[in-house]
């Protein structure tokens, strides 16, 4: 996996607007066939980064390389882009609209028509093909917009907040569709604030904050490295031993769970053994993997 050629390389890329530095010395690689999460708080520089990837703006310095070549206008056709701020022509019919956007990606004629129909059916929108945008609900418009990003069968799909405004059913539908794209060998860059979804979908994650990269790597490895030696417990009975400062650093109530952070060096096995010895009825004992949400907040606070 490591030696496959990356789909996208950002090599020491910087971009500023006047005095404002939007992206500073950012390097990253996106490997083919994977879902790459680009996360960070508002104003971190995600949108500017994406705009450089899709060749809307050029970096002040550094290099953007796509499919092994330096970025160019011709390569835009191999990218599908769902911007965060999205828009469709309000008075245009859905079918015509999709045909127009497909044409801008060099897809036209019967082939375009066929693919548009396939996608409309897949996302339960086929009956709306001759309706105008303004007649559609926000969630439906969102799905139409998604089709504009994938209809020309691009190798790289960039989705900026694809889940905003969707109900749970459609979030599920969208998630499944993204995973299907991945299975079909597409590379996907996903930018989102919704950490639970990012956790579920992403293989790799890059976190940027205040124009700098703060974290980058495979999601699993990142989570492991952030493991804080914590255990989630549910139990009944004596809990005096949790006050032992040689074993437990802190306790936090988290819903029904008692989250126990062990002192460095102490093993979870030791805790379990002591609990059993003390005759405590343990109903749940689980090593806690740090959630992306927590890592995100921790990293953002670190810099602040």
């Amino acid at each position: 996996m490591e030696d496959t050629k990356p789909t996208l390389v950002l090599d020491h890329v910087s971009k500023s607007f006047g005095d404002f530095i939007a992206v500073s010395d950012l390097s990253l690689q996106v490997r083919p066939g994977r879902v790459f999460g680009l996360i960070g708080p508002n104003g971190a520089g995600k949108t500017t980064t994406i705009r450089m990837i899709v060749n809307i703006t050029a970096p002040d310095s550094g290099r953007v390389e796509l499919f092994g070549q330096t970025m160019s206008t011709a390569m835009q056709d191999r990218i599908g882009y769902l911007p965060e701020e999205r828009g469709l022509y309000k008075r245009m019919k859905i079918g015509e609209q999709l045909r127009f956007f497909a044409e801008l990606k060099q897809l036209r004629g019967a082939e375009a028509e066929k693919r548009i129909d396939t996608w409309l059916k897949k996302l339960d929108l086929f009956n709306w093909k001759d309706k105008r945008t303004k007649e559609l609900s926000k969630g439906m418009q969102q799905k139409v917009q998604f089709i504009t990003a994938v209809v020309h069968n691009p190798d790289l799909v960039i989705l900026d907040e694809p889940f905003s405004g969707l109900d749970p059913v459609n979030v599920e539908l969208m998630s499944d569709t993204i995973l299907e794209q991945k299975a079909a060998g597409k590379t996907i860059i996903l930018s989102t604030h919704q950490m639970e979804i990012a956790e579920k979908l992403c293989d790799d994650v890059c976190m940027i904050n205040r124009s700098h990269k703060v974290l980058d790597g495979k999601l699993r490895e990142i989570r492991r490295s952030f493991s804080r030696n914590a255990v989630a417990l549910q139990f009944q009975g004596e809990d005096g031993l949790l006050n032992d400062p040689t074993l437990v650093a802190s306790i936090r109530q988290h819903g029904d769970d008692t989250e126990v952070l062990l002192v460095p060096g102490a093993s979870p096995q030791e805790l379990l053994r002591r609990l059993v010895e003390a005759n405590v009825a343990v109903t749940k004992f689980e090593l806690v993997e740090p959630r992306l949400h927590d890592i995100f907040i921790e990293k953002v606070r670190e810099v602040a």
Binding site: G18, R51, I56, I79, R86, G87, L104, Q106
Partner: protein, 444 residues
């Protein structure tokens, strides 16, 4: 290139299919006719009843002549008018018919009564007449002082001093009366004077050898200017709206991820221009059909329009459209909402209006230096040069020069606009300031 064509096609098809386009295409000519004919008719219409004037003749010798001149119904500054009308006549109409025609056009008749002094003072009579004016028994009175022949001064008091037609009419009538009286007192035979004053008949032909028809060519020039003005304004606003829509809905972001800003902007400008040409083409066709129908037996007089004028019309429309629409595109990319766009676009509209307001001066003296310079200024030229061409075609080098300046301006504006557009379309949140815009231009 194919992406550019896709943009052109979208702009064109989406717009031509709208109800607005269909309605505007049908109603446009009616409005145009209304705009051109109504003012002419409104000048002509007077509120039915004749204008009642009283004449106070202190000299005691002038009343007969003045009354005759006023009721004889000659237009103000009759010689000038007769001459002007004669120039515009197609040759076989003589002056008298023309005068009658002019009177019919102005529709005004006059009734004159003499007010004798009968020992009263002028002040008393004034007072009496003022009351009559106020009680609507009278529309105005003329006071001829005893020394009117020597001093050449008289007084007119009308209810409506702003009625310039009556004022100049009365002034001309008194002048003629005074002149006649002076000549009579100098023992000059009046018959001789009348013969001597008979204006020459001037037959005018246009530069193309065709007989020019003054009035017709006035309306033609005015109509052409009005049509350019209205279509440039309308289609410029379309471009403004289209650009703002794409910026407001953030469609620009998707478009820019598929194509460069320049072909996108050009595609938009050209797409809308094709819509405009389609509409103008339909109108042109309708006009031809109507003319052909009218020529076949109807008495509706339609101006003969030289074919070249249509060519010039299309050329100058395109020039005006691209000059203004490019500026509109820039404005659209700088603002964030339609309302802001309207405010920012106001100076552009005013510029267009200014060009149109010049039309009177241009048509009157198409070869003045004012006409020349305004027809070289690319923001006025589409209206002013076309009016000059319609009235008194200027030398070809002037036309070519104005076109050259226009094309150079368009290239410059497009160059500038593309730079502003590219950055402006991705700037959200607030209206761009001029220094910011200037920075965009320099940076890109």
């Amino acid at each position: 290139m194919r992406k550019f064509l896709a943009v052109v096609k979208r702009e064109y098809v989406q717009r031509v299919r709208t109800k607005f386009f269909v309605v505007a295409t049908v109603l446009g000519p009616l409005f145009m006719a209304g705009f051109t004919i109504l003012p002419a008719m409104m000048f002509g219409i007077k509120s039915g009843a004749p204008t009642r004037l009283a004449v106070v003749d202190e000299s005691g010798t002038m009343y007969e002549r003045v009354a005759k001149e006023i009721t004889s119904g000659k237009k103000p500054r009759d010689e000038d008018v007769v001459q002007a009308l004669d120039q515009s006549s197609s040759g076989n109409n003589n002056a008298k018919e023309k005068i009658e025609q002019a009177n019919k056009l102005s529709g005004s008749t006059y009734v004159v009564e003499e007010v004798r002094l009968n020992g009263r003072s002028v002040g008393e009579i004034r007072k009496d007449l003022e009351t009559k004016i106020q009680s609507h028994e009278l529309d105005g009175y003329i006071l001829l002082p005893a020394n009117v022949l020597k001093e050449g001064q008289a007084e007119f008091r009308g209810r409506n001093a702003a009625d310039v037609f009556t004022v100049s009419y009365v002034a001309a009538a008194i002048s003629r009366a005074v002149r006649g009286q002076r000549l009579a007192e100098a023992k000059v035979d009046e018959k001789f004077v009348a013969e001597a004053s008979e204006p020459i008949k001037l037959r005018t032909t246009g530069a193309g050898g065709q007989e020019s028809k003054g009035e017709a060519s006035f309306y033609l020039a005015f109509g052409a200017g009005l049509l350019i003005y209205m279509s440039v304004l309308l289609y410029g606003q379309f471009v403004l709206g289209a650009v703002i829509e794409e910026k407001e809905t953030r469609i620009a972001e998707i478009l820019f991820s598929s194509m460069r800003a320049f072909p996108l902007m050009m595609g938009k400008l050209i797409g809308v221009s094709l819509v405009a040409l389609t509409q103008l083409g339909i109108w042109g066709l309708a006009f031809f059909t109507f003319s052909a129908w009218a020529a076949g037996g109807s008495s509706v007089p339609l101006p003969q329009i030289p074919a070249m004028l249509f060519v010039y019309f299309v050329i100058y429309f395109l020039m005006g459209y691209f000059v203004y629409a490019t500026v509109y595109a820039v404005v659209g990319s700088m603002v964030t909402t339609t309302q802001e766009g309207g405010q920012m676009a106001l100076p552009i509209v005013l510029m267009l209006v200014a060009g149109f307001l010049l039309s009177r001066n241009i048509i009157r003296s198409p070869n003045s230096s004012l006409s020349f310079w305004t027809s070289m200024f690319p923001f006025f030229a589409p209206i002013t040069m076309l009016m000059r061409i319609a009235t008194e075609t200027p030398p070809l080098w002037q036309i070519l020069l104005s076109l050259g300046i226009g094309v150079a301006t368009i290239i410059g504006l497009v160059w500038l606009a593309a730079r502003i557009y590219r950055v402006g379309m991705l700037m959200y949140g607030k209206k761009a300031t001029i220094p910011e815009v200037w920075r965009w231009v320099r940076q890109s």
